[in-house]
C-alpha cells in the first residue's frame, strides 16, 4: 500500500549504534529524492552511553510536525524496543537485530529480523552496522538506493576517504541481504514523490538561524557552550571569519552578552545565543542594552527548566523571562520562530528590528526546533530589509546629542572610529548628551523616549504579513468555530492538524504570531471575534503565552499544556479541538481516532 507519509524511528545506544548520523544521512537522501522530511531526535545529556533515537517523517506533501504513531521501528537493541514499542502502531513494522536479540513477544504487526551485527562482523566493519541498516531500510521501503549511496559518498567521503569503499560495502550488504531473504512486500511504502517538486534544502533550526543572521549582516558572535545552542556557536565559528567577522567563545554567558554589547557599540551587528540557564545570566546586560540603547540580538533556544532541568528536552517555558526577565521599566522585543524556515526569517527580522530601534531583540526557539531538520524551500533574503542603524549626519555633528528626545524615540547613534562625535554611553539615567542625570523630569523624559520607540515598533509591526507576521491555517476565520492560537515550534503540529481537520470539513482555524512582544493584540481579537473557542496549546505548565495574550486581550482562552520535555503530537491537538467542536461536517469524512 502506498502512503502519503511514512514515520520511521531508529533507536539504539549512544556512541555505539551511530543512530543520529545514520538518520541524518538517510534524511538527506530521502529529501534529495524529492520528498518532504521532518526529523526528531532525542539523545542523552551524558557524553557516552544511554539511549538515543532518531525519527524520520517523510511525505509527498509538507510534513510540518513530528507525527503520531510510528509506521516503522528499527530497534538496534532490546532497550530500544522497550522504550519505543508503545509508539509503534499495532499494524506497524518492527525491524530488530536478528541473532543479537529475540523477536519481541506480543507484537502483532510485521516483524523483520535482520542480522545487522552479524553482517558487520562478517564483513569486518565494526562501525558499519548503521549503514547496513540503512541499506536494508532502502531495500524494504523502496527508497532510492542510488541516491543513498551517492549521499553517503559525498557527505562522508570527503572527511574519511579511506572509508568510502567500506561504506559502500556496508550499504550494499544490508540492501542485498533484504533482497535475498525477505520476499514479502512491506505493508506500506511511500507513494512516489511529486515529480514537479524540486528537492529542497535540508537544514536544522540552528543552521537556518545562523544563515539568517549572516544574511542580516551579523559579523560578531560571542557565546558559551550550552545545549541546545552550542551548534550555533560552532556554525558561526566556521562561517564568520571568512566573512571578515569574528567569533569569541567567552568564559560565561555574562561575558558573551557583554562582548556582544561592546562589539555593537563599536558598530558591528552582533549576536549571542544560549539556553535557559545562560539566558538567566544575561538579564542584567540586557537591561544595559535597553538603557544605553544598544542593538543586540539574543537567541534563547529553550529547553526544559528550571535550573539545569533537562538539557536535551524541549519546552516553551522561557517566555516569561524573555518578556519580564529584567529589572526596571524595559520593554523588549520578543520573537518566536515557528519552523526551521522561520528561524532564517526571524533571525533576519531580529536584526532588522534591533538595528532600527536600537534595542535588544530576543529570539526564542527551542530544543526541538534547534536540532530537528526539515525540508525548507530556498529562503528569499530579500523579504526582510537589511538596515544600518541611524547615525548622525554631518549637519548634526556640531550639536550632537546621542540621546536626543526625538519624536520616534530613535536618536542617531554615533560609532567610535567612524563618526567624529564622541559621547559616553551609560547604564545610568542620562540627559540627551549621555551625561548622568537623575532629575525627575529627565528620567520621565528618557523613559518616555525609550517607551516611544517600543510604541513605534508596535505600530510598525501591526500590519506585517507572512513570512514575518502571523501565519493562518485552516478554514477562513469568519467560517470557523474553533480557533487555535499557538506560538513557537508548536506551530508545525497545529498547522498540520488544523489543515487536516479543515480538509475533512471541520470549521477549524489557526493563528500563529511570530512577534510575541509587542503582541499583535488587535489581530488576535479580530481572529477570535466569531470563534466559539480559542485553544492555546503550549509546552509548559504555567500557561505563559495564554496569560500574556489574556493580559492584552481579556479573551477567554482554553489552555492545553504538555510538559514532559516532548512536543505535542497531531493526535493531542486534534483531540482537544474535537472537545470544543459542536458542528460536525455534514458528511462525516473522518473517524475520530483516539490514540493510546
Amino acid at each position: 500500500m502506498f502512503v502519503e507519509t511514512l514515520l520511521l524511528r531508529m533507536g539504539g545506544e549512544s556512541g555505539i549504534d551511530n543512530v543520529i548520523s545514520a538518520g541524518d544521512i538517510l534524511t538527506l537522501s530521502v529529501a534529495r529524492s524529492g520528498y518532504h522530511v521532518h526529523t526528531f531526535r532525542t539523545y542523552p545529556a551524558e557524553i557516552k552511553g544511554g539511549p538515543v533515537m532518531f525519527q524520520l517523517r517523510a511525505g509527498v506533501r509538507p510534513v510540518p510536525s513530528l507525527g503520531d504513531q510510528l509506521d516503522v521501528l528499527l530497534a538496534f537493541n532490546e532497550e530500544a524496543w522497550e522504550l519505543h514499542h508503545q509508539a509503534l502502531r499495532p499494524d506497524g513494522v518492527l525491524i530488530y537485530d536478528l541473532g543479537e536479540h529475540d523477536a519481541p513477544q506480543g507484537f502483532n504487526g510485521v516483524t523483520y529480523g535482520i542480522p545487522l551485527e552479524r553482517l558487520a562482523r562478517d564483513l569486518n566493519l565494526r562501525k558499519g552496522k548503521n549503514l547496513i541498516a540503512l541499506g536494508a531500510l532502502c531495500s524494504l521501503f523502496g527508497f532510492d538506493f542510488q541516491e543513498l549511496q551517492a549521499t553517503v559518498k559525498e557527505k562522508w567521503g570527503k572527511a574519511r576517504p579511506e572509508f568510502v569503499e567500506s561504506n559502500r560495502i556496508a550499504l550494499l550488504a544490508g540492501y542485498q541481504w533484504v533482497k535475498d531473504h525477505i520476499q514479502e512486500e512491506v505493508p506500506y511504502r511511500l507513494a512516489p514523490p511529486d515529480p514537479t517538486h524540486e528537492p529542497e534544502l535540508v537544514m536544522s533550526g540552528n543552521q537556518a538561524l545562523v544563515a539568517g543572521a549572516l544574511a542580516a549582516g551579523c559579523r560578531f558572535y560571542a557565546g558559551y557552550p550550552i545545549t541546545p545552542a552550542s551548534d550555533i556557536l560552532e556554525e558561526m565559528a566556521r562561517r564568520l571569519p571568512g566573512l571578515g567577522g569574528a567569533v569569541l567563545q567567552t568564559e560565561d554567558e555574562i561575558a558573551a552578552i557583554s562582548t556582544v554589547v561592546g562589539a555593537s557599540i563599536a558598530g558591528v551587528k552582533a549576536m549571542t545565543a544560549t539556553s535557559g540557564p545562560g539566558f538567566s545570566l544575561m538579564q542584567e546586560m540586557l537591561g544595559l542594552a535597553t538603557m544605553a540603547e544598544v542593538p543586540v540580538v539574543v537567541v534563547n533556544a529553550m529547553r526544559a527548566g528550571p535550573s539545569t532541568g533537562m538539557p536535551t528536552k524541549m519546552e516553551q517555558s522561557d517566555l516569561n523571562i524573555a518578556l519580564y526577565g529584567g529589572h526596571g521599566d524595559a520593554p523588549r522585543i520578543v520573537l518566536a520562530a515557528r519552523s526551521v524556515e522561520d528561524c532564517f526569517y526571524q533571525a533576519m527580522h531580529a536584526f532588522y528590528l534591533s538595528e532600527t530601534y536600537q534595542m535588544p531583540v530576543i529570539l526564542l526557539t527551542d530544543q526541538s526546533l534547534s536540532h530537528r531538520t526539515e525540508t525548507v524551500p530556498m529562503p528569499d533574503p530579500n523579504l526582510v530589509p537589511v538596515v544600518e542603524r541611524l547615525r548622525p549626519s554631518p549637519e548634526e555633528y556640531a550639536s550632537y546629542r546621542r540621546y536626543a528626545l526625538t519624536e520616534s524615540g530613535v536618536s542617531p547613534m554615533a560609532v567610535p572610529g567612524i563618526d567624529p562625535t564622541p559621547f559616553t554611553a551609560t547604564g545610568l539615567e542620562h540627559d540627551e548628551y549621555g551625561a548622568p542625570n537623575y532629575t525627575p523630569a529627565m528620567h520621565t523624559a528618557q523613559l518616555d523616549k525609550r517607551g516611544r520607540k517600543f510604541e513605534v515598533v508596535a505600530e510598525a509591526l501591526c500590519g506585517i504579513q507572512p513570512p514575518l507576521g502571523c501565519l493562518s491555517y485552516g478554514v477562513p476565520e469568519e467560517e470557523a468555530e474553533v480557533g487555535v492560537l499557538a506560538w513557537g515550534s508548536t506551530a508545525g503540529v497545529v498547522r498540520e492538524t488544523v489543515e487536516e481537520l479543515a480538509a475533512e470539513g471541520y470549521p477549524v482555524t489557526a493563528l500563529i504570531p511570530a512577534v510575541i512582544n509587542p503582541l499583535p493584540a488587535q489581530r488576535i481579537l479580530h481572529f477570535a471575534r466569531n470563534l466559539k473557542a480559542v485553544i492555546v496549546p503550549e509546552v509548559n505548565r504555567s500557561r505563559q503565552f495564554a496569560a500574556w495574550v489574556k493580559a492584552h486581550t481579556e479573551l477567554p482562552l482554553i489552555s492545553v499544556n504538555k510538559y514532559g520535555g516532548l512536543p505535542f503530537t497531531p493526535a493531542e491537538i486534534r483531540a482537544k479541538i474535537m472537545e470544543f467542536l459542536v458542528t460536525r461536517p455534514t458528511k462525516e469524512l473522518a473517524q475520530e481516532v483516539t490514540y493510546g
Binding site: 534529495r32 529542497e200 534544502l201 537544514m203 543552521q207 544563515a211 539568517g212 549572516l214 559579523r219 560578531f220 560571542a222 562561517r239 571568512g242 566573512l243 571578515g244 567577522g245 569574528a246 567569533v247 569569541l248 567567552t250 568564559e251 560565561d252 555574562i254 561575558a255 558573551a256 557583554s258 562582548t259 554589547v261 561592546g262 562589539a263 555593537s264 557599540i265 563599536a266 558598530g267 558591528v268 552582533a270 542584567e284 546586560m285 537591561g287 544595559l288 544605553a292 530556498m378 533574503p381 544600518e388 560609532v415 567610535p416 572610529g417 567612524i418 563618526d419 567624529p420 562625535t421 564622541p422 559621547f423 559616553t424 554611553a425 551609560t426 547604564g427 545610568l428 551625561a435 548622568p436
Partner: protein, 287 residues
C-alpha cells in the same frame, strides 16, 4: 604627517569633558584622571578613535570626564565589553577603568580570561581597598580585620593580591602606580597603552572619605629596585608579594600575540570593505 600639521597639538585639558567629576575632595581618582589626560595628550590620541570603558563604582564614573568616546557599562563587566569593542574595531584605542570591587570582586571572573586572551587593552584599576559609592563597606583588597559597616567585627576574609593574580594568570604587561605621583602614573599609562597586548595597571588611589590611606601608602610606596628585570615573571611575582613596601613601576612585560591578531572583525561593516556575501551560496550547501 600632513594631517598632524593641520590638527593643533592636543593638550591634557583638551581631553577634559564638560561633565564635572563627582568625586569627594581629595579623592585619589583625581590624580589618576589627571594622569590619564596627560597620557592621552602625550600620545596625541584621537578622541574619536579612543574609547574609555568602565563598570560601576566611584572610579567607573571616569569615562564621563574624558572627551573621548566612552561607555560606562554594568558592574564588573568592563573587560568583556572592552574586549568586544576591540575585536569589532582593532583600530580603536580602548582603555578600561574601574575600581577594586568592580574588577576583583563582581568582575573578578573576567580578569583571568581577559589576561589569557591578551587583547590590546589598557586596564587601569583604581584600588582604594574599600567600597566608596555604597558608602564604606569592605572590598576584596581590604586588609584582614578591616572594620566597616558591613564588617563591624572586622573582615574575616584575607585580601586579594591583584598584582600577583594578574601575573600568575599570565598578564603580558603589569605595572603599579600611585595617584599621589601623577607624573609617574602618566608614564605608566603611556607605556600600558603602547604595549601591544593587555596592560594591567594597578593604581593605589586612596579614598579620603571611607579609608584614608594616603599617608600610610605614601610612607610605604617605593620604586621597584633598579635591578628589577621586568622580563622575569618570577621576579615580578616576588615583588608583588613583598610586604615591607608597596613597590611601584613596571613589574613585567612581554610581547606575545594579541587576541585581535587572530580574532577580529577584519571587515568593519560600516567601512564596507567586506567580502561580497550572498547567503544563497551558503544555503545551497544544504541541498
Amino acid at each position: 604627517m600632513a594631517k598632524d600639521s593641520i590638527q593643533p597639538r592636543r593638550l591634557p585639558k583638551d581631553y577634559k569633558s564638560e561633565v564635572k567629576p563627582t568625586w569627594c575632595p581629595g579623592c585619589g581618582d583625581f590624580g589618576v584622571l589627571a594622569s590619564l589626560y596627560q597620557a592621552l595628550a602625550q600620545l596625541q590620541l584621537d578622541p574619536t578613535k579612543t574609547v574609555v570603558v568602565s563598570g560601576i563604582g566611584c572610579s567607573s564614573r571616569l569615562p564621563f570626564f574624558v572627551e573621548t568616546y566612552g561607555f560606562q557599562t554594568a558592574h564588573g563587566r568592563v573587560l568583556p565589553v572592552a574586549t568586544g569593542i576591540k575585536i569589532a574595531n582593532p583600530e580603536l584605542t580602548v582603555i578600561a577603568v574601574g575600581g577594586d570591587g568592580d574588577g576583583f570582586s563582581i568582575g573578578g571572573g573576567h580578569l583571568v580570561h581577559a589576561v589569557r586572551r591578551n587583547p590590546d587593552l589598557t586596564y587601569v584599576v583604581m584600588d582604594n581597598e574599600v567600597y566608596g559609592l555604597t558608602k564604606g563597606q569592605t572590598s576584596p583588597t581590604s586588609p584582614l580585620g578591616f572594620k566597616t559597616k558591613s564588617t563591624p567585627f572586622g573582615s574575616a576574609d584575607a585580601p586579594i593580591n591583584p598584582m600577583a593574580w594578574a601575573l600568575a594568570s599570565g598578564v603580558s604587561f603589569a605595572a603599579r602606580g600611585f595617584s599621589g605621583d601623577p607624573k609617574q602614573l602618566a608614564e605608566l599609562i603611556v607605556e600600558g597603552i603602547q604595549h601591544p597586548g593587555f596592560a594591567f595597571i594597578q593604581t593605589m588611589s586612596p579614598c579620603p572619605t571611607f579609608y584614608n590611606t594616603f599617608d600610610l601608602w605614601r610612607a610605604r610606596i617605593e620604586d621597584l629596585p633598579p635591578d628589577h628585570d621586568p622580563t622575569d615573571r618570577m621576579q615580578a611575582l616576588a615583588q608583588a608579594f613583598r610586604d615591607d613596601a608597596i613597590p611601584v613601576g613596571v613589574f613585567y612585560r612581554e610581547v606575545r600575540p594579541t587576541l585581535e591578531s587572530h580574532t577580529r572583525v577584519s571587515a568593519h561593516p560600516l567601512k564596507k570593505n567586506g567580502p561580497e556575501f550572498d547567503v544563497r551560496s551558503l544555503l545551497e550547501t544544504y541541498r
